[in-house]
């Protein structure tokens, strides 16, 4: 164990030495040569990169959390009152269709130049995915489970918090993952109003033809999205331990019965909304990403 980690450390150090050597030999020339990959850029502008990343993460997290706070009552209202169902889904779908640049531009006169424009835009986008997935999750709760809970004397609130929400959690988390990953990518467009996190660096780099800055910021942005997805997947596993043990038990039972599970791998996406909910007008296939 210790030997393995030792090797990886030393190879990492070698890599750093090689990079430093290249930078030393070129004398930071990759900056003046305008190379795509430039260690000198990362070293000399690390503070700028950190600030941009922090702003990026901040905007994304605030947006998704706000969207969750708004999506819950909306989804519950749409379920409670049949008349609200169509308008709620329709409105969020219309909002999702509006391109990001236009969304920020339309919000500009309402909020003025500031982070609020970007955050509001991202909240509106996230609402579509979240409302739809919360509804799909609540609809996937078996009627028998509801009946059993009612029979045990559960009131409407306890039914929701104790039975329906836990069972809807996989679909909800699938929605949160999609919303977060999209928000990380869409934050970059906020550069148009000066609050785009890493997008600001891309925007500046575009104007000054600074290749290293554009590539570095883009790569960090993709890494952020992947990291967020992995973290949320881990959170989902922690919150819903019964999903995995149930699946394992089912597989064992299937094997014992001598038949193979249908291996389509798509339809059964972690209890997500399933492709049927993509049949609406939003066009976001709510297939829970199994990736990463």
């Amino acid at each position: 164990m210790s030997g393995v980690s030792g090797v990886s450390v030393s190879s990492g150090a070698d890599g750093a030495v090689v990079l430093a050597g290249a930078a030393g030999k070129a004398g930071g020339d990759c900056l003046s040569a305008n190379d795509w990959i430039c260690a000198e850029y990362v070293r000399s502008r690390s503070q700028e990169l950190t600030d941009a990343t922090v702003e990026h993460v901040g905007i994304t997290v605030v947006s998704v959390l706000l969207a969750l706070l708004i999506a819950f009552p909306l989804a519950l209202a749409a379920r409670r009152w049949q008349r609200a169902y169509g308008p709620v889904l329709g409105l969020t779908t219309v909002l999702y269709t509006v391109p990001s640049l236009a969304m920020y531009a339309l919000l500009l006169p309402l909020f003025g130049v500031g982070a609020a424009v970007v955050v509001t835009g991202l909240v509106l986008y996230s609402l579509t995915v979240l409302v739809r997935n919360i509804l799909a999750g609540l609809e996937s709760v078996p009627e028998e489970a509801r009946e059993a809970a009612r029979g045990m004397g559960y009131g409407p609130f306890k039914l929701l918090s104790g039975v329906e929400l836990p069972l809807a959690l996989p679909a909800l988390m699938a929605g949160v993952r999609i919303a977060t990953v999209s928000a990380v990518a869409l934050t970059t467009v906020g550069a148009i109003v000066g609050f785009g996190g890493l997008g600001n660096l891309i925007y500046d780099g575009m104007d000054s033809f600074f290749r290293a800055q554009v590539l570095t910021a883009s790569v960090i942005c993709v890494l952020l999205a992947v990291l967020a997805d992995v973290l949320l997947l881990g959170l989902q596993r922690l919150l819903t331990p019964w999903v995995r043990s149930g699946r394992r038990a089912r597989r064992r039972r299937g094997r014992a019965a001598g038949r193979t599970e249908p291996s389509d791998g798509v339809g059964a996406a972690g209890g997500g909304g399933g492709a049927s909910s993509a049949g609406g007008t939003g066009g976001v296939p709510v297939t829970a990403g199994k990736g990463a």
């Binding site: 997008g199 554009v214 066009g283 296939p285």
Partner: protein, 247 residues
């Protein structure tokens, strides 16, 4: 609200619609980019997805590619392509980016649609002696049609949105009205351009929804089934219904 009135005034001023920077020209550019790139993306993605769905392979790829498409910022790709040597060839970086971002929804939705085509029906068709091609063209694609069209629709909306962003690195399209407005601190123009883009996106979506209804090869059957299932009690297994109606 004053800004929105000013935006309306901007939109109703004839001078803003004519010339190289005018709305008419930008709208033509935008529509041209959208149609060309959507056509290329469909020509590339649909055969691949339909074939993969038919033989039932590559599911992980088809699904994960749409997750990857979501994680990559469109704006970053547009700028990267513009700064690359490709940037010297006019609209080429824009077209490449537009096609790239149209592929994931097309691939994923078509694949899922093909795989979710009722297996019993597919097996029955095979039992009737249909060949692979007949199965694909007469059974699986008609059954998958709604999801294929959902893919086309989200790809179209994605293309319209990406084409707007293409204005930032200097491409054409309606986004140029917005960026030009930002450049001159002309908020009414920014809002007017944004309203035009939003209207175009909604229009494209609406047109494709109508097209789907009209072109659906199974629209009669689907409608009658929907009415039937509405009359069945809740919790009744819907999968039983087709067996009754096939008589």
């Amino acid at each position: 609200m004053g800004f929105f009135l000013d935006a309306w005034t901007w939109l109703t001023t004839g001078a803003n619609w004519t010339g190289g920077e005018g709305v008419t020209h930008r709208l033509t550019e935008h529509l041209y980019l959208t149609v060309v790139c959507l056509a290329i993306a469909c020509a590339v993605a649909l055969p691949v997805a339909l074939w993969l769905g038919h033989v039932g392979r590559g599911g992980a790829l088809a699904v994960n590619i749409s997750n990857a498409g979501r994680a990559v910022p469109t704006f970053a790709v547009l700028v990267l392509l513009t700064l690359s040597p490709l940037g010297k060839h006019g609209d080429l970086p824009t077209i490449i980016a537009l096609v790239l971002f149209a592929l994931p929804p097309l691939l994923t939705n078509s694949y899922v649609g093909m795989r979710e085509a009722d297996r019993d029906v597919v097996e029955a068709a095979r039992g009737m002696g249909m060949s692979g091609w007949q199965l694909l063209a007469r059974v699986e694609v008609p059954l998958a049609f709604p999801l294929i069209m959902t893919g086309v629709r989200s790809a179209a909306v994605q293309v319209v949105a990406t084409a707007t962003l293409a204005a930032l690195p200097g491409g054409g399209g309606l986004g140029r009205i917005i960026t030009a407005g930002f450049g001159t601190y002309d908020t009414p123009q920014v809002v007017a351009g944004a309203a035009l883009v939003a209207a175009l996106a909604l229009l494209v979506e609406g047109v494709l929804v109508v097209a789907e209804r009209l072109m659906d090869p199974m629209r009669r059957r689907r409608r009658s089934r929907r009415q039937q299932s509405r009359s069945t009690p809740k919790g009744f297994d819907e999968k039983v219904i087709p067996a009754q109606t096939t008589a």
